[in-house]
Amino acid sequence: MNELLRKFPRSMESLLDILHAIQDADPQHHLSDEALQAAAEYLGAPLSEVVSTATFYTMYSRMPRGRHIIRLCESPPCQLLGGETLLDILAEDLGVAVGETAPDGAFTLETTSCLGACAEGPAMMVDDRIYGALTKEKVLSVIAEVRRSDATR
């Protein structure tokens, strides 16, 4: 943890970057109490300030999440193109509701505001990658592909 923190200047300006870095490095993609404490100590800031920032932004999670995070766009352009039914398809395939993590720890299902992929909507983001022009078949094949590449790792 300290090695990770040392890359950043000891200023509150670094806080969002630090929280991103901690979360990206964590296998469960979340911000634990210990991590937030370490960030506060490193910055010489009150823990309350660090927690205040960490709980404001939707990309940060205080709860442990799965190895892969699926974010389906729920903004009006994607909804108009059938985004809402895709959420049901994802929820059924993964066996979780929005905000939940599958028991095997593989996936967390989330919704997101506009991903800026509206010309290819409906769109979703799996980890760092955006997939557009989604249909039921495409959603299921993307998930299957992620499962396959996990299995061969």
């Binding site: 200023s11 969002l16 404001f56 932004y57 939707t58 506009c114 800026g116 010309a119």
Partner: protein, 429 residues
């Protein structure tokens, strides 16, 4: 409206001129395409900084983030001081908007040059690009462009060997629509919750770290190099008298060819939808369009001749906003569209001020009653009334915005709302 039945419409590209034509990760290709020409000339000739601001003022360039405030005037309001900042607002989050992403990913050096010229004009030596966290590729590309520009001598303590110092840093957001509001964005760079500040004071006098700060949108800054290189008169040759230049529009939804195009300001809405968007999908009829994103206006067929520039749109009950144009065909429901927008505002309300926090929630409750057929006759009026109260009392544009889609939707599609109120959900629009 048959797709392909008319000659392909022609774009007028200024900010997107190099997108798709150069390798965005190559400094040399960007330079060959004209990048850093304007700033090189300005620095070499030691042009007075006031001249740069004056040129931008004369050009009539207005903020492309949506508000349309004159950019040169904003720059001239920057308070005196030793330390000032240029902040590029790349927190693109307005639903249906991806114009800034195209510039960030397609021609990042153009944006960097625009920031350098802004820094030169107002006397700032540090710039920040605040990019929303979901834009992974944009973040990588702009960071590479900064590294390359630094190595190439364009950024640093002595820009091109001159006495002008300017450097740029990327700041990654973390998922908050409200951070597109300039003071929230500043708070976020400072490592805090993205709560908007009270204005005044404006960022031009008290901004980042309490220093004078210019906050400009990506598309705005990307116009600056061409204006300085070719002059204000050249720029005024495009668009309308009160909105010179071009605008990037995103034509989406029920159209044949959803896409982004850069055209002259004042291009009629009909041309954008029919000539560029390919017309309504599957031969259907046009019903409505949401202009400018969630904080936008919902207009009907009567608005198709609307000239799409800041004043032309406003005069006819529309709005330019971010340039997003979400098209609905005859089968789509305005009630459902508005409900989606109101859910968005409820989710994105930051919770700092009471009118927005409570109001955004009440709006969804009322809208839910309307769409499920459980509303009483007064509920539609209450929807408007609550939004109007939010407009009058909220701290920032987020809470002030829902009135716009609500009022325009109710004005143009009252019958659909009333029909829906008398029927259960799913019984037709």
């Amino acid at each position: 409206m048959q797709p392909g039945s008319r000659a392909p419409a022609k774009e007028t590209r200024i900010v997107l001129e190099n997108c798709g034509r150069i390798d965005p990760e190559s400094l040399s290709e960007a330079v060959k395409a004209g990048a850093y020409k304007a700033v090189t000339q300005v620095v070499r000739e030691k042009r007075p900084s006031a001249e740069i601001t004056a040129e931008i003022k004369r050009s009539g360039l207005r903020g492309r983030g949506g508000a349309g405030f004159p950019t040169g005037v904003k720059w001239s309001f920057t308070a005196p001081g030793d330390v000032k900042y240029i902040v590029c607002n790349a927190d693109e989050g307005e639903p249906g908007t991806f114009k800034d992403r195209l510039i960030l990913e397609g021609d990042p050096h153009k944006l960097l040059e625009g920031m350098m010229l802004a820094g030169y004009a107002v006397g700032a030596s540090k710039g920040y690009v605040y990019i929303r966290g979901e834009y992974s590729l944009s973040i990588r590309r702009i960071q590479k462009a900064i590294d390359d520009a630094r190595a190439g001598g364009y950024l640093g303590d002595a820009v091109l060997g001159s006495s002008f110092a300017f450097d740029i840093e990327v700041k990654k957001g973390a998922g908050a629509y409200v951070c597109g509001e300039e003071t929230s964005l500043i708070e976020s760079i400072e490592g805090k919750r993205g709560y908007p500040r009270l204005k005044p004071p404006y960022p031009g006098s008290v901004g980042l770290w309490k220093k004078p700060t210019v906050v400009n949108n990506v598309e705005t800054l990307a116009n600056v190099p061409a204006i300085i290189a070719r002059g204000a008169d050249w720029f005024r040759g495009f668009g309308t008298a009160s909105s010179p230049g071009t605008k990037v529009f995103q034509i989406l939804g029920d159209v044949e060819t959803p896409k982004a195009v850069e055209v002259e300001m004042g291009t009629p809405l009909r041309t954008l939808i029919e000539a560029f968007g390919g017309g309504i999908r599957a031969g259907k009829r046009f019903k409505a369009a949401l202009l400018g994103g969630a904080a936008g206006a919902i207009v009907g067929p009567g608005a198709l001749e609307m000239p799409m520039d800041f004043d032309g749109a406003k005069e006819r009950g529309g709005v330019l906003g971010s340039g997003a144009i979400l098209v609905l065909d005859e089968d789509a429901s305005v009630v459902e569209l508005l409900h989606g927008i109101l859910r968005f505002f409820r989710h994105e309300s930051c919770g700092q001020c009471v009118p927005c926090r409570v109001g955004a929630s009440v709006l969804v409750t009322l809208s839910e009653r309307i769409r499920s057929g459980a509303a009483t006759a007064d509920d539609l009026e209450r929807l408007v009334e609550v939004a109007r109260t939010m407009q009058a009392t909220s701290l920032c544009p987020l809470g002030q915005s829902p009135i716009l889609p609500i009022q325009t939707a109710v004005d143009s599609f009252r019958e659909e709302f009333e029909a829906r109120m008398a029927k259960p959900c799913g019984a037709g629009a």
